[in-house]
């Protein structure tokens, strides 16, 4: 019921089946220049453990050809072959500070994907937004983050941030409680041991707090609360069924006063 107010959780069905194995690896990306209109290029990368080449273009964050990426996702062999590699979907890409040699492939007959506006996009101010109806319910929101980043990424984190802020603004007076989380348990992926610094949890919470204030949520109604270790995200939907990004998030609870 709560999730229905907030997000319409069924809008983003994942293609992953319950039995699919989540694939995580670190590798250098390769850009395939499928010249098929704006944003039509493909991001390919090979899992060093298996040598399998994957198409990770569906990730909200696209790669940088100079830097290694952390890939977290499901193989989706039913999604066709627009780029010349096994499609991963859903998938997340995080850009790491590990240098790569840039490499670009020509289209080689692959068409890539015509761009279409992702479902998770922030609407312009010139479009009316639907306000919640009274009596106001408690709101719970979750904003996902890329690995080792506090940046609100385009067409994923910003979508959830915007939903959070709009709800907080629409049901004022309300108490907003923010909890930042970080992935502090070391993981070994493709031979690299990676972990997020504990402070990043607080930094993420601060980013969300600042954003709320900038949009006009009264500072006095905002609290940052400590994370309960092992707690599940308030909302699972932003992760599309993936497990490994779950700890990189901010949870927000909004209680009407």
């Amino acid at each position: 019921m709560l999730r229905a107010i907030i997000l319409g959780a069924s809008a983003f069905a994942t293609t992953a089946t319950a039995t699919a194995q989540e694939i995580n690896f670190i590798a250098c990306p390769v850009y395939r220049d499928t010249n098929n209109g704006r944003k039509s290029g493909c991001w390919l990368t090979s899992d060093p453990a298996s040598g399998t080449r994957y198409d990770v273009t569906a990730a909200p964050t696209k790669a940088d050809w100079n830097k290694a990426i952390l890939v977290e996702g499901f193989a989706a062999p039913d999604e066709g072959n627009p780029c010349g590699a096994t499609v991963m979907q859903p998938v997340r890409v995080s850009i790491l500070e590990l240098p790569c040699t840039r490499h670009m492939l020509p289209a080689e007959g692959y068409e890539g994907r015509r761009f279409s506006l992702p479902t998770r996009n922030v609407r312009p101010l010139y479009e009316d937004r639907k306000r919640p109806e009274k009596p106001y319910a408690k709101g719970r929101f979750t904003i996902p983050f890329d690995f080792d980043k506090t940046f609100i990424t385009y067409q994923i984190s910003d979508y959830y941030l915007d939903a959070t802020i709009n709800y907080a603004l629409d049901i004022q007076p309300a108490l907003v409680e923010i909890t930042g989380h970080a992935q502090t348990t070391p993981r070994t992926i493709s031979g690299e041991t990676i972990t997020e610094p504990a402070e990043i949890a607080q930094e993420r919470a601060d980013v969300v707090r600042r954003a709320l204030i900038m949009r006009g949520v009264p500072e006095k109604n905002i609290r940052i609360t400590a994370a309960r270790p092992g707690a599940a995200p308030y909302v699972m939907e932003p992760f599309d069924g993936l497990k490994s990004p779950l700890e990189r998030r901010v949870d927000i609870r909004i209680t009407p006063q």
């Binding site: 704006r38 290029g41 790669a63 910003d158």
Partner: protein, 499 residues
Amino acid sequence: MIKTVTLPLAAALLAIAVAAPQAAQEDPWWDPDEGRTFPAQLEYANANGTLRLLLEDGPMETEGHPFFTSKGPDGRACVTCHQPADAMSLSIESIQRQWERRGAKDPLFAASDGSNCPSLPQGERASHSLLLDHGLIRIARPWPGKDYEGKPLKPDFTIEVVRDPSTCNLDKRYGLNSDEPHISVFRRPRPVANFKYIEAMGFAYDPKAGMPLTVDPETGKPVSGNLMADGRVLSLTAQMRDAASAHLGFLDELDAKDMERILDFERRIYVAQQRDAKGGDVDAAGALGGPMTLMTSRAGLLGSDGGMPVWAEFEAWEKMSDAEKAKLPKDVLEFRESVARGARAFREKTFLISDTSGINTPIGFGNPVRNSCVFCHNMSHMGMDVAPGQVDLGTTNMPFADPAPHLPLFRITCTGKPHPHYGRTILTHDPGYALTTGRCSDVGRITLQTMRGLSARAPYFSNGSAKDLRAVVDYYDRRYTIGYTEQEKTDLVNLMRAL
């Protein structure tokens, strides 16, 4: 087709009908204190045709108006650098004409910023070479400066002067190592017109910052973030204070009444090219070019989401019937078809955009990303960025900047994280937005300009590096290895000269 008309068009047309057509023989140059009447409609010839200015709500007396009245020791007014005939910017042609007329005595060439450095002998042409040869005004920014709230910046980079033919960055009194350290960069005046668009907020966020739009501490309200090359002021009133002390040389603030009157003028004035020397009126045969569409349309819409596609003003010229075509002289037809193709190329011809801070990082579009001119120039009718438009096109940074032996060159050393594309050290002619934020990742990010009235205000780019519209297209062709055909280049140039 334009669903964005907001003004009663008839009222706007009426205001124009009553205005006397501007006498063509009047001097195009506006000196301060002339006391001319600014009519509801004003036209000026330029090399490509005719520019038109519209003043919403009818004529205005400029006698005693603070935009047109000299203030400060140099006898300058705002209009000195924001000339109606030059689309409210300043063309190199006008600058050179004023030098021929009056030499260093013209207030335009005031020592403070109309010369390469105030300590140079002011009577000599060479001391004003950056203004005379490149159309550039000296902008002296305290370094390190302050943030929007007035707190001192803690920059994550250092600046050294590699060379400075202007002499000013090495000057004992004005330089980076003086008692009051300043960095001098040299920039083109930005047009003072069409502010409905420049001030418009299309979205609540700045995706380049991953945060909501910056809030102006003076008003507590968010702002569009599209003013000045380096985004150093958040509002037109803050800009006026900056201009009054920097360009007009008086430290007393303009009084509240003056500011109100300037603001009133700035928000009423619209400018665009109206007639092309080859193609005739840019709003002929169903096209919607010219300033009237600007004045009567809603501002701040994204061309790809709710707004009119960018430069679809010229769609009608794409769809002319054979009967209509047959009626037009060959030259006119060719020009109109070329403009329409140019508009389409602007939106649809894609290329790989790479290593461009503000686009490829940190948003997550990917590096590279395939897109077109309209990716950055995305606002309907205006071709600026709906989001705050600070982007590093490379116009001021090595290795992408064109050679500019006349400009100062700085070495930036990032002391924290390296720059996402350039590494630890960056050679730049103008650190741009980084002078405002103190972040090395912002070096060379310059706020996108509007694209109207271009024919009246060469040279282009903030540092004047493109001497004409063809040079703009050639710069992009080199920067992003686009491979435009000759025809595409001509079409883009024709489009831009008609804006």
